[in-house]
Amino acid sequence: MKRASLVVAAVLIVIANSVALIHAWRNRSGKATSDLILTDRELPLVYSSEDDSAVGLTLSWRASNDTGIDSWLNVARLRALGFDTSVSPSSADAPEFYRRERPRRAFVALEYNGPAWEKARAFISKQVSNSRDGIVREPDWDKFSRLVVIDADLDSARLRTDHPDTAHVLIVPAVIGIAADRFDYLPEGHRPAPTLSGFIREIPSSVHVPLPFSEELRARVRRNGSVRYNVRLRYGASFEPWIVGFDFTPDDPAHLR
């Protein structure tokens, strides 16, 4: 009895680790929910400090019109995601009401290098051509991620049914927020009708790079300062990713398939 609490403490450590490892095993066994090849544009390197020797990538994505507000996240979709949209955005109570609406968890679909990316690219190019005196310049497209959020749902299975291409559409958990915009910052007479819209607040983005990939990556960065690569990323049953393959010939990822 004297040692009971000591044994309980030790068993708790073992159980907690077992739960984590079993969770990871279950995520990686069975059918993958997504399996696609991304580049350094979509998975840029995270530069750690000298105190952390780990190598990691971060999933880089964009909203469909690059303003952070996705037009497809309309009132009907927000209601389906569980938000209370009963107050009209033109109401005087709207800013306070929607400020109190907390972001909610859901799943989102990210399309890779598809029509949504072409649309986003066209939107940005139009902004460049409309800007006066070259204030907004043509961006360096080689650095832009081609992952674009195209859909959201509370049910991941329904989302996959709507977007069955596992090689070009990622289904990942996300946090979605809601905002009411009355355009008070525009002068009277130039304000559009108040709108209610959603935005993707967060998507779990961190991807750990294990050995031997991390060693090669570290060596190349040390030699050349920067590096181009392709990564085969797989998402498991719990929508958590792991790296299956790494390749440093960015124009020819064929052998990763």
């Binding site: 000591l6 403490a9 030790a10 450590i13 990871a24 952390d52 050995l211």
Partner: protein, 362 residues
Amino acid sequence: MESTGSGRPPRAQHEAQERADRIRLLQQELAQPELLEVLTLTPEQSHRFHDWAQTQLRLLANDFDVDTNASQKRASWGMRIASTLGAFAICTAVVLFFLHFWGYLATVWQVSIVMLLPLVMLGGAEFAFRRERTLYFTGLLALVSFASFVMNLAVLGDIFNIVSTERALLAWGAFAMILAYRYGLRLMLAIGLLLLMSYAAAVWTAQLGYRWIDFSDRPELNAMVAALTFCVPLRISSRHSDFPAVYRLVGSIVFFTCLLYLAESGAASFLPLSSRNVERVYEAVGLVTSACGIWLGIRRQWNGLVNVSAAFFVIFLYSRLYHWWWDWMPKYLFFAAIGAIGILLVLLFRSARGRVLKGAGA
């Protein structure tokens, strides 16, 4: 061993220290000239009392390693501060050391090291516990074991890209509580309570469909859990007689902090009122509950509760005055008014203290 003031022998180090302090004070008082005028011991009585006091202090020092004079007490305080700071520094060093090298290890070694480290440190804490009475090294190693366990689950989450959940708070909180109760460590108890309170609020937040980590955005959940934590010692007793004060301290600080947050930011409330009205409600609730906390603490002789409640009462009061007066009142007049109210509070507390003394005298 003779009993403590409560009629039983001391069972813990802090009880033994209180008894040693009382004996030492009694020795000092009996030597005072004023007391000799009303109470004179015969030489034999004086000699027997001196022998008894020395024997008691020696026994307490042998059994519980207590401080038997003022110099030792000061040295002990220094040791306590040094061991706590040292523990935090060692925890940081262990974590940074691992992070410095783990990227060069294969996954199987990473997982093995982070799993074994808290177990090894737990073994070290147990080893120290069986060999020392003052618990300085036990507390240090227990804290390092806890920090290792936190790093353990965090690193596993990083390696396998596991989406964070609130369940880690439960594991960490439970581990801290086990260490606290096994070794009688109040710091571990406070850490465990904070983690378990956070877990309770996080679970509730996740069930409502929000991100679990946003639990701090809903202070009312945290305030309810804090109030429950405060009440735990009323229902559950423990062999550690200094633990109820920790429950009350942690519960009251978190409770009042939540009320203060709501009094400043009403948008975080569940109440179906405008933010401004929510802030007013919680300002009033904060003033009333902190005043009740002062009254309850005085009545039950819970010094920690009196101090915390008094501090928050002043904060709530000054916060309200700031909102009322700052914008329109000349600044010199504002601070003069604050000072006058402070003096009034001192007079009020002195009057309350006098009534308590009178009541005790009667």
